[in-house]
């Protein structure tokens, strides 16, 4: 495992390269595209374990942080889906450079999926395959969900919580959407998230796409239908998968940090 910075000096990104185990040549590559904000912290362990296990199977893996997140340069207020899409393409090129241009797939969870879908048409060399997990395809619902999580957290963390927080999101689900669980949602990012709608297809993809989502996730089902209608030749499949990971929970012992079933599922899909 090799942590390093890459990208131009004014836009440095932090990444961790997992070379194929046993020092042999890679047979393929995978870039792991993280979710946003607290969810990225929540799945840090999951991503590391997934990368470790893929590397054991001879796959070169790159984990990285978007600009303004994690260990990368930039501030919270730099958050921008278009910039992050460019970051993903940069990470893709970096991994390609390290593994000698082998076919490279992308794995992306939650808002990371929106980033990956926006980045895929720009990818060069072309991304080989994409796997998105519980993708955010309904931006309005996503912000509302983050708002509830924010209030739940504040309620738990105060001896006597302020009922005004919950009243605010009950009146307007977007009322607290300028920040989420300690991370800023600047106006541009908020607009970009709100533009995500299950009825609106992404641009045509240059590779097959696998959508892994809960059975009852109607938004992803609707979005897949919209993609199929907009791009009849697209190679797209949706797989129902239930898991115990709560995206917005803290990584404590009462919610599995990296559910084994999810880890095995993604490993099987990517290797």
């Amino acid at each position: 495992m090799n942590p390093f910075y890459f990208g131009p000096p004014a836009h440095r990104l932090f990444g961790v390269f997992h070379p194929p185990a046993a020092g042999g040549p890679a047979r393929a590559g995978v870039v792991l595209s993280p979710p946003f904000g607290h969810e990225a912290i929540r799945v840090h362990r999951f991503y590391r374990l997934l990368a470790d296990r893929l590397a054991r199977q001879g796959i070169g893996v790159l984990r990285f942080d978007y600009y303004g997140t994690g260990d990368s340069g930039g501030l919270d207020d730099d958050a921008d889906l278009a910039v992050w899409a460019s970051d993903l393409c940069e990470a893709h090129r970096e991994l390609q450079r390290r593994i000698g241009g082998l076919p490279t797939s992308w794995f992306a969870a939650r808002l990371g999926a929106a980033v990956a879908l926006a980045a895929a048409p720009q990818s060069f060399p072309r991304v080989h395959r994409m796997l998105v997990w519980d993708p955010v395809v309904d931006g309005s619902a996503y912000l509302a969900e983050l708002g509830v999580a924010q209030v739940d957290e504040l309620d738990l963390a105060h001896c006597i919580p302020d009922p005004a927080w919950r009243r605010a999101i009950e009146r307007d689900p977007q009322a607290l959407s300028t920040e989420s669980l300690g991370f800023s949602i600047p106006p541009r990012l908020r607009e970009q998230i709100l533009a995500l709608q299950p009825s609106v297809a992404a641009p045509a993809l240059p590779c097959p796409l696998v959508v892994v989502a809960r059975e009852d996730d109607a938004a992803s089902r609707q979005w897949c239908a919209a993609m199929g209608a907009a791009h009849p030749n697209a190679v797209l499949s949706r797989q129902a998968f239930e898991h115990s990971l709560i995206w917005t929970s803290n990584p404590f012992a009462n919610n599995e940090v990296a559910p084994a079933s999810a880890l095995q599922y993604m490993l099987n899909e990517l290797s």
């Binding site: 006597i160 991370f183 404590f252």
Partner: protein, 331 residues
């Protein structure tokens, strides 16, 4: 804030610990001390809500280099292959971090910042290593008395009928009202039945007992003794508490069991009535980080006035080879 430099460092036995060193730009006057930022729970080195990144950049902008790193088995640091006790391993990791920090920067005096479990670890390191000249513990050890606990209960009972948010945090209330709203819901019924049997299906709150594995009982007397040890050594001790346990704090209520101990009056102490334990609100982060920066600069000023140079560590071990892997970034 002036530009700072960030680089990846790998250190410790077999170079398996991973950290990010944040240093001031060349034109920033150096403060003469460094700040070590510790993990909180199992959150990786960016800290809860990325607050360690913000702290490191802010302090480095004021001339204080920072090292934030992952302890063994957390974040990107590998699990230990040794047989050391968990706590001994953590202390060894933190001392290795100071060795690396010293080798990378040439500094020999450090302050430590820790939140929650990080606060407890900060105290452990400060006691064990003479290079530590300041320690800021946010929501670390608490020793409230019975009166304070009673006051907390009374306040919550009084607020209960009028505060829907408070009621939602109370497990039995959630389960019973959930069942009353959906009497045919099998899951809701199961939760109530489990309550009646005295075995709730879900924990009442997030438990951190896993981090207490192997811990010996640590009481107010131990804490007072440890604080006194640090104060006698000239360590600047700052204790901060959030509003998680109570909404007011009179006369250092959260350390009430230490009343009468001289150390209690000599430590810095601040209660934040509007800052939560996990720094959920951006405004809370800003204010806490401002206080951290101000304190660190005060420690720096005091250290400049103190001619004595601390030893390299009480055990007298030599600093390890740097093993630094420079990989700079402008932030």
């Amino acid at each position: 804030m002036s530009t700072v430099e960030e680089s990846v460092v790998s250190f410790g036995p077999d170079q398996t610990l991973v950290g990010i060193l944040t240093t001031p730009s060349a034109d920033t006057p150096h403060a003469g001390i460094g700040c070590l930022l510790l993990n909180t729970g199992v959150n990786h080195r960016i800290g809860p809500r990325r607050v360690n990144v913000k702290a490191a950049r802010r302090l480095a902008g004021s001339g204080i280099p920072c090292l934030r790193f992952d302890m063994t088995g957390i974040g990107d640091s590998k699990a230990s292959s040794g047989r050391e006790d968990y706590r001994q391993q953590q202390l060894a990791d933190m001392r290795a971090a100071l060795d690396q920090f010293q080798a990378s920067t040439g500094l020999s005096r450090f302050v430590i910042f820790g939140v929650c479990t990080g606060a407890a670890n900060a105290l452990t390191l400060a006691l064990a290593d003479a290079r530590v000249v300041g320690v800021l513990m946010f929501d670390g050890h608490i020793f409230p008395d019975k009166l304070m606990r009673l006051e907390r209960k009374v306040r919550r009972w009084l607020a209960f009928p009028f505060n829907a948010s408070l009621r939602r945090t109370y497990g039995p209330w959630r389960d019973w009202t959930g069942w009353l709203r959906s009497p045919t819901d099998a899951n809701a019924r199961a939760r109530v039945v489990a309550r009646l049997r005295g075995r709730p299906l879900a924990p009442e709150s997030e438990s951190t007992e896993i981090f207490a594995a192997g811990a010996q009982r640590y009481g107010a007397g131990d804490f007072a003794r440890d604080l006194q040890t640090l104060l006698d050594r000239g360590v600047d001790v700052y204790i901060m508490h959030s509003a998680m346990l109570n909404i007011v704090d009179r006369n250092r209520n959260l350390l009430a069991q230490l009343r009468g101990q001289p150390c209690l009056e000599r430590v810095r102490y601040r209660f934040w009535p509007d800052v939560d334990h996990t720094l959920t609100l951006l405004d809370a982060q800003r204010r806490l980080l401002q206080a951290l920066e101000q304190w660190a600069l005060e420690v720096s000023t005091a250290q400049r006035a103190s001619p004595a140079s601390p030893a390299r560590g009480q055990a007298g071990e030599p600093a390890r080879k740097p093993g630094i892997k420079p990989n700079c970034v402008s932030a």
